[in-house]
């Protein structure tokens, strides 16, 4: 046994670990995914919004062809006509929240920070943060529904499954951008299931399932992906504050020139 001072031995161990990590990073074959210290795939980093694989555009709306048929009365709950009242027709113009998933579908960067206990997912769009426990705990009963719902994650092998409930009735996506006459809404019965799997160093496969039994006969899914943008780490997410200078809310401009 060599007589090495304890702190020197500890330092040597650290160096060995660091060298091993560096060697691992350098020799990592294409397709190998980064893993956290607990062995789980590490989703941390900067990502663009979930969208169709290969698409350059945003996935701000769901593809109608992917949706399940309506239950009787479901269509009337899904497509909500505008009323002419801007507070109803365009609540975001008054800085009301977009809700989930809408806020995370637009063309803004998303930062994820993963620990063994939580996945933190923040979009630059209005700085909305989801703090998602990863212990698969049961959803709360009898709580007030919210715009962003109650997401709870669990690992199924290398796939992170996030199931969310307790949503307030609100817009499902950004369809009203395309059709100013009506919204696509979900009900308070909405359950969303996200399945995130890091398929390579730069890609997350992102399957999104909508289960709203008051509107659709069965759950339906879309297959999206998210692409990594390491360069966004240089500046981080920018601040976006809706109420700072929201001059034309609801089409009525404040004239403070």
């Amino acid at each position: 046994m060599l007589n090495v001072p304890k702190h020197t031995a500890a330092l040597a161990n650290v160096i060995v670990v660091v060298l091993a990590v560096v060697a691992n990073a350098q020799s990592k074959p294409a397709g190998q995914i980064p893993r956290a210290a607990d062995g789980k795939p590490d989703l941390s980093g900067f990502w663009d919004n979930p969208k169709e694989p290969g698409s350059r555009g945003p996935a701000t709306t769901f593809n109608k062809e992917k949706m399940a048929p309506f239950v009787p009365g479901g269509e009337a709950l899904f497509y909500e006509p505008r009323t002419g009242d801007p507070r109803h027709d365009e609540p975001r113009a008054f800085c009301m929240p977009s809700g989930f998933p809408s806020a995370f579908l637009g063309p803004y960067p998303i930062q994820m920070i993963q620990t063994p206990q939580y996945l933190v997912m923040q979009t630059e769009f209005m700085n909305v943060t989801r703090i998602i426990p990863l212990d698969g705990r049961p959803h709360k009963a009898d709580i007030e529904p919210t715009f962003y719902g109650e997401p709870i994650g669990r690992w199924e092998g290398d796939t992170l499954v996030i199931e969310a409930k307790n949503y307030k009735r609100w817009s499902l996506d950004d369809y009203y951008y395309q059709n100013p006459k009506e919204y696509r809404m979900h009900t308070e019965a909405l359950r969303t299931i996200e399945r995130l799997r890091r398929t390579d160093a730069d890609t997350i496969s992102y399957e999104f399932t909508v289960d709203d039994p008051k509107i659709f006969t069965k759950p339906w899914s879309v297959q999206w992906e998210m692409k990594r943008h390491a360069e966004w780490a240089k500046t981080g997410l920018y601040e976006m504050v809706c109420n700072e200078n929201n001059r034309c809310e609801g089409g009525k401009c404040r004239d403070t020139k």
Partner: protein
């Protein structure tokens, strides 16, 4: 030159996909049937969220001056594209193209800004350049 390259890049982006960078529906606040194109001098720049605003004094044939307000993209989005607040300064002469506010006031989306020397900068979200 840097600005011109940026403008070209943004133009390509605008041509390929309907980027929706506003926090609201374009049609709720602006009227795509009322295009606006003015030439004037920048009097004020508000480089703030959720959209930058800038104001332009426009002189008509009789010499009467009207101050117009134009909205652009969010500062963070513009900054990520390399467009900072120094791109637009008080006293600059600009040509602005956009769409008038629904309330009929002298406010509009400012889809495209061109400087006197021909440099062109998109300040608005792409939906402002291609409304539906």
């Amino acid at each position: 030159m840097r600005i011109r390259l940026l403008a070209m890049t943004l133009g390509l982006l605008a041509g390929t996909a309907p980027f929706l960078l506003a926090h609201h529906s374009f049609s709720a606040e602006y009227d795509s049937n009322q295009p606006v194109k003015v030439t004037g001098v920048v009097t004020k720049v508000e480089w703030q969220n959720p959209h930058i605003w800038f104001f332009v004094d426009v002189k008509d044939a009789q010499g009467k001056v009207t101050n117009w307000g134009f909205s652009g993209g969010p500062p963070g989005v513009l900054q990520r594209r390399g467009i900072t607040r120094s791109a637009l300064k008080t006293g600059d002469t600009v040509i602005v193209e956009g769409f008038r506010a629904r309330d009929g006031s002298n406010n509009a989306s400012g889809g495209k800004v061109t400087f006197a020397d021909g440099r062109s900068v998109f300040t608005a979200s792409n939906e402002d350049t291609a409304p539906r």
